[in-house]
Amino acid sequence: MSESSGRFKPGDRVRVRAEDRPGHIRTPFYIRGKSGWVERVYGEFLNPESLAYGRDGLPKRPLYLVGFRQAEVWEKYETAPKDKLYIDIYEHWLEPA
């Protein structure tokens, strides 16, 4: 699967897919549809959405540390404009922004 090649680099702007589907999903609901940047590329890991159901977790999925500005995630975030939120997100949940 071509998605496993690691298509994003540190600094790339990304948006979290706003999908809603059942299953063992490791992308928190609150961050879906929000935009941030790739902070770090962690490498490839077995896919938990497959592992959770006793399958082999293959193909492995690239995992990224994605940064978000708190003020852009929450409407009523306390006035501290530099505060950030970092989340580990698998590539198939990200799209270029």
């Binding site: 490791r26 928190p28 962690y42 890991f45 975030y77 306390e78 501290a80 970092y86 580990d88 997100i89």
Partner: protein
């Protein structure tokens, strides 16, 4: 097999000579005992295996993390290795972190504080910090750590100025995070062992800083 673990439990409590308060086992506790008995009966595990696993679980505690942090405070080369390759640095200190898929250490500074949460469940660096406290697994912490981290810190007794950047890590996947807190002022000259006492579990989750220097422990004060 014994399908009435509660009866067995009560029987056991009488054996060592003094009474224990009787309490009903919950549905889940009964189920666990039933599964345990089945596994033993079918020879999947032995009683020794179970005890060894209990001992292993109990041996892991925040003392491991405190040793890592205290050494990083006094040994800049170790700190560099801890940040660059945390699992290797753990091995150096005799701490077995091999069960962690990936382990990342987040260094606090005067300008930046890190705080760790798992909003989806209770992901936590167990080999380094032991089992997570109940509050770490509570819905309240999991929800508010991401949208009101400064409010959470305030409840732990720490007020941060707006000039300090708060970075919350939502540990959602294969990475486990440990916060390397700032070395408290006034601790110059303290030994690694003394310093480790200032490194609390909560300071390594990042909801507060490490404890201030203990009174009377300052050598040059």
């Amino acid at each position: 097999m014994s399908v009435d673990p509660s009866a067995k439990q009560n029987e056991t409590t009488q054996e060592h000579g003094h009474p224990h308060p009787k309490h009903e086992l919950s549905y889940h506790a009964k189920r666990i005992y039933a599964i345990r008995e089945l596994l033993l009966e079918k020879g999947v595990v032995t009683r020794e295996d179970i005890q060894a696993q209990i001992d292993y679980q109990e041996a892991r505690s925040p003392a491991n993390g405190a040793r890592l942090v205290a050494r990083a405070w006094v040994d800049p080369k170790f700190k560099a290795r801890l940040l660059a390759d945390p699992k290797a640095a753990c091995a150096e200190m005799g701490i077995d972190a091999t069960s962690l898929n990936e382990f990342v250490v987040l260094e606090n500074s005067e300008k930046v504080r890190h705080m760790v949460v798992c909003t989806l469940c209770s992901c936590y660096p167990r080999p380094i910090l032991g089992r997570p406290p109940d509050w770490y697994k509570s819905f309240n912490y999991r929800a508010r750590a991401v949208n009101d981290p400064r409010g959470v810190m305030r409840e732990f007794g720490q007020e941060l100025g707006a000039d300090i950047e708060v970075r919350v890590h939502d540990s959602t996947a294969d990475i486990r995070y440990l916060v390397l807190p700032l070395r408290p002022p006034g601790t110059e000259g303290m030994s690694g062992e003394e310093l480790a006492k200032l490194v609390t579990r909560d300071s390594m989750i990042g909801v507060v800083d490490a404890l201030p220097a203990l009174p009377g422990s300052r050598k040059n004060a």
